[in-house]
């Protein structure tokens, strides 16, 4: 057997047998390819197409779901923030109220204390006044007795008594 690069030699004449053989072989090859390669491959390609389609659908669905969840979460955060703000405001208001209440109570208490002190002072003063007046009376009796001892005219006595009384009144 010799191998070289001679490639001439398409035979002259009509090769009817070759034509028939080529046709037969081609049809056999076509049938074999269809059975062993094309059909299974087409099957898997369709399967893949369906798989991809379903995956896309699932992805779309989950995207929508995620969006919904996001919206929900956003709304929840918003309401929570609103609630927190409300709580703080309420607390502030409550504190303010308590403050003013306490202040008012303290003011009322101090007023009351002041009134009580004033009342007491006035009572004390009246008491002192009465005491004084009694003492003045006894004193004037004493003075009168002393003056009488010193020989005092009635006019002078009167004058003295009045004077003392006046003085005692001015001292108030």
């Amino acid at each position: 057997m010799t191998t070289n690069a001679y490639a001439l030699g398409a035979g002259a004449g009509f090769n009817g047998g070759d034509i028939l053989f080529q046709l037969a072989m081609f049809i056999i090859l076509l049938a074999l390819l269809k059975k062993f390669a094309w059909a299974p491959l087409m099957g898997i390609m369709t399967q893949r197409e369906e798989h991809i389609a379903s995956e896309i659908e699932a992805a779309e669905k989950s995207r929508v779901e995620a969006n919904q969840l996001l919206e929900q979460t956003r709304a929840e955060v918003k309401s929570a923030r609103l609630e927190a703000q409300n709580t703080i405001e309420n607390a502030k208001k409550l504190g303010e109220e308590q403050k003013s209440e306490i202040l008012a109570a303290a003011r009322a208490e101090s007023e009351r204390l002041k009134e009580a002190a004033k009342l007491e002072i006035a009572q004390e003063r009246d008491q002192a006044m009465n005491l004084l007046r009694e003492q003045v009376a006894s004193l004037s009796v004493m003075i009168a007795s002393k003056v009488i001892e010193k020989d005092l005219s009635a006019a002078d006595q009167e004058k003295l008594i009045n004077q003392y009384i006046q003085e005692a009144g001015e001292e108030q």
Binding site: T3, G9, Q22, F36
Partner: protein
């Protein structure tokens, strides 16, 4: 320089048929190679394709593109496997004659099967025959017959000539390209490569021409399938 073909002339059913044994051998080898490629590519099918499966799916998508560029997929889907088989078989056949030729006892045994006009014309006749068959099957015989008188009745002779011209050009284009490629390789290897200087001088043009022949072989396989789909879609479509 010319080599003989290993012809036999058996008589079958009273008809003497001429068989070229070299053609039969090469047709068988090309078919077996195509089948093995397809078989190996589809042994381990997976949703996530790898390696050979990718390659075969690429072929399928490529042929699908050819079909879709000529007719809608609903009509053309049935020609998908035809296109795949044609493109793989023709490409493998074109490549077979490139690396070497085998001559035994002055008979040429190893060559491209597509370097024989009988083989290419057989394929072309089959394609055109299929186009007529599907035209009748899908449109009905009367529609099919009327198409020969459209758009004008006097186009009829041209339409008849067109059918034969289509067949001839489809087959002979492939044959001519591959045969010419092998002729040039033969000339480069056989005539230029004589003596040491001749061998050295022949290396570069031979490599260049082989590279070009690979390109031509691929292009011719593509053109054959493309024209197949053009002819079929021309026949089966309703709107022309």
């Amino acid at each position: 320089m010319d080599h003989k073909s290993p012809l036999i002339h058996p008589e079958i059913f009273g008809v003497t048929l001429t068989f070229n044994l070299a053609n039969m051998l090469m047709i068988t080898i090309a078919s077996v190679i195509v089948f093995l490629i397809a078989l190996l590519a589809t042994r381990q099918l997976a949703m996530k394709p790898t390696g050979m499966q990718n390659f075969f799916e690429w072929i399928m998508d490529f042929v699908k593109g050819i079909v879709k560029s000529n007719m809608d997929w609903k009509t053309g889907g049935r020609f998908h496997i035809l296109g795949i088989t044609l493109i793989m078989y023709i490409f493998v056949s074109n490549m077979l004659g490139l690396p070497f030729a085998i001559v035994y006892n002055d008979y040429l045994w190893w060559k491209s099967p597509t370097a024989d006009p009988a083989v290419t014309l057989a394929l072309a006749v089959m394609v055109v025959g299929l186009s007529h068959y599907y035209a009748i099957r899908m449109k009905g015989f009367s529609e099919y017959g009327k198409d020969f008188f459209r758009p004008m009745w006097f186009m009829f002779p041209l339409k008849i000539i067109e059918e034969f011209a289509n067949t001839l050009t489809l087959g002979l284009r492939l044959y001519g390209n591959i045969f010419a490629g092998e002729i040039l390789l033969t000339l480069l290897a056989g005539s230029l490569a004589t003596g040491v200087g001749g061998h050295l001088a022949a290396i570069i043009p031979t490599i260049a021409w082989m590279g070009f022949s690979v390109f031509v072989g691929a292009i011719q396989a593509f053109i054959f399938v493309m024209l197949t789909m053009v002819y079929i879609s021309h026949k089966v479509s309703h709107d022309h």
